[in-house]
Symmetry: C2
Subunit: 421 residues, 2 copies
């Protein structure tokens, strides 16, 4: 008895751009548009699958090469697609603005193809993708409210509805709106923007306003180990975890030895090759997984299993993203038993209605998202919307994420420094 | 759009016994029958799935409890079945004759249910189980010829066709037949039976006869670290790996620090809880996976990913088994990219035709097995054969594997000792 094949006959890669507010971080500020690539995998069975990933030029070129390599492979044979991507993937390269460390090129390029193949497998089986990963162990996936220091507007534009957030009061107001609108039960502040004392003050203001919300602070490696330890001690009992206070595995290990709370990372352990040294040095106690650079959903599940095996906590990282990525994140998070912390998402920062997926499949209730029950990822493409966001990509002029360059155009002489304090 | 469910409506657990030759090891000798349990999972969709596992009394009781707990769960929701098994599984217990260390009760009890659920998922999708694990990355799975010191016959019985193998000549003759009949391109000798010097001599005799076959020696923890190192040095350049020369992670680590070849294990690292200490001490360089105690096929794939991540070689362990287990081993081995060594199997020691699966789905060619291409595991139950082997179980009187007790009945005063030399 031979099984019917479902072979890849074509792949469409569409770069898109969507409006992004001026969110500040340790290396600069978000540009007016966030860039993403939408991957559509077409098969000889008539079924199609979706993936979403970065859209920087070098990455787009690698995606195109991978798309050619994937032609003819059965969508169940993701191991074979991985092997083919491995054979052509460029050696290790950094992603975009480099807030993430050097992740593995193969895993980063393979990821959207794997997600699309799982989307198709799910459709073929009439099952949500979570079922292909052992099934959902939770009905609702918890997310945290992701707070940013921000300007009121991009230079030359009118203020957005969020307005400025440049001090503790601004952050608390932002958090109130986040919690009011989406019900988040955990809060994360993107720090590394102002001197640590000001950010400590902001965290204390959040604690005063939200006495029961777990709080996190992520300065994106803006601090030396000594500064990191000083902040860690000042926020003892206040932070659920401190994320990437300082650069590198050794620096993190130095902080971890004395910090009173767990350290989390999506910067120093971002590839399977980093796990052995990271674990040997006990550098991090929580890893923020991200299927976009950990090689898709099955390899993210592998990361989860490694975290469980070595007693490391598991959370989930986010870049600015659209609905395909959110669907994949939710399917994965639903199926991973040891997801021990609410996931990050930039979703609330996206303009209402600006997306490539049809309808409004995601509404937060109590800070959580219900796992879609339909087959595959549970989202479908809105062809018109895809066209509009692609047009926006063509018009916006941005081609590579460059938070630092954008900041320099606004603040001449701005220097990228990790650590800064 | 809601997906159609495939829910477990019943589980049949049938203990069976099949003839086993008097194979010697470091704790005794195989009894006249090997015991296994056959698991049939029945669903409301009419699809059924198969699993195979140990049949010792304590394990059978745990299987029955797990079967009750699994009723009503969708076969895609193996994570939920795992959670239910975890909730009822007895605390850590040893398996059978204890050649394997303390593996995790949940993983051991869950395993045949997971395999059966994947069998059903594969049938529902019209796909081999390997496709549910990312697809086969090899068409043929390599196995090693598994050599044993043995008596010519069980006490009181007529000699079996293999006859005695109690010295280097007997082992070489056995190897020749193994290689002639099945084409094995790697050979493993089960040692720990005679003083190390005799077993070194047997390995040298194999090397003389088979200059190009990778060779392995597995004394099942029969030696002290000092003896292990002495043997390791004497067999430098001869062994592909030395398996479990001495008991425990610390002992293995002591040997590994100076042994010239990799050390392998299916005794000291046999559960996820052993990985962190095993890796920290660099105690083993090769892990023999075994889905029967590592929690099924997906968790064995997780083990494989951990091995790849930490630079540990991967091989596959075997107990005496029937065709359902062999099918599961082949499906898993086909899909695991980093299976770096030929797998073990006791298959050639089983009487031709004595099995619970229909037909003869497995024939070795060049020591390898072709991955079945049909849906699910690729094997089906022969109800008459199952009945016969169950009858044999009822009649044989054996209820728990006891190699040591059986040896004592033949050789009064035989002592179980690890290490012995």
């Amino acid at each position: 008895m031979t099984s019917e094949s479902i072979r890849v006959t074509g792949v469409t890669i569409t770069p898109v751009a969507f409006a992004d507010p001026p969110l500040l971080n340790s290396v600069g500020v978000h540009e007016p548009f966030a860039l993403r690539a939408v991957i559509e995998v077409v098969t000889d069975a008539g079924l199609t699958g979706l993936g979403e990933t970065y859209a920087d030029e070098q990455h787009l070129a690698a995606l195109r090469a991978a798309a050619t390599a994937a032609i003819g492979v059965d969508v169940y044979h993701t191991g074979e697609i991985y092997r083919r991507v491995q054979a052509i993937a460029a050696p290790k390269t950094t992603i975009s603005a480099g807030l993430i460390g050097d992740s593995a090129a193969t895993d980063r390029v393979f990821s959207p193809f794997e997600v699309a193949c799982l989307d198709i497998q799910g459709k073929a089986a009439g099952r949500p993708v979570a079922d292909l990963l052992g099934g959902a162990v939770r009905d609702t996936v918890p997310f945290s409210g992701y707070l940013f220091y921000k300007w009121a507007a991009h230079p030359g534009a009118v203020a957005d509805s969020w307005g400025a957030a440049l001090d503790p009061d601004g952050i608390v107001a932002q958090a109130k709106r986040m919690v009011d609108e989406h019900g988040f039960t955990a809060l994360k502040l993107k720090g590394g923007v102002f001197p640590p004392e000001q950010e400590i003050e902001a965290v204390r203001a959040l604690r005063a306003q939200f006495p029961d919300h777990p709080l996190r602070l992520d300065p994106n490696a803006a601090w030396t180990p000594a500064t990191s330890l000083r902040v860690a001690r000042e926020l003892d009992g206040v932070l659920e975890y401190l994320e990437d206070p300082t650069p590198g595995i050794s620096g993190m290990a130095e902080v971890a030895r004395e910090a009173p709370m767990p350290l989390a990372t999506n910067m120093c352990v971002v590839a399977f090759a980093h796990l052995a040294p990271g674990i040997r040095e006990n550098a991090v106690q929580v890893i923020l997984s991200d299927h976009h650079y950990w090689g898709g959903l099955r390899r993210s599940a592998l990361l989860a299993g490694i975290c469980e095996t070595f007693g490391i906590g598991l959370s989930m990282h986010s870049n600015s993203h659209l609905g395909i990525s959110l669907a994949a994140m939710v399917q994965l998070a639903a199926a991973v038993p040891n997801l021990s912390y609410a996931c990050d998402t930039h979703w609330p920062w996206k303009s209402e209605g600006e997306d490539v997926v049809a309808g409004t499949p995601f509404r937060f209730h109590g800070g959580g998202l219900t796992v879609p029950r339909g087959p595959g990822l549970g989202v479908s493409l809105d062809a018109d919307a895809l066209g509009r966001l692609h047009e926006q990509f063509l018009m916006c002029g941005q081609r590579n994420r460059d938070d630092t360059g954008y900041m320099r155009r606004v603040v001449p002489g701005y220097e990228r420094r990790q650590p800064r304090w």
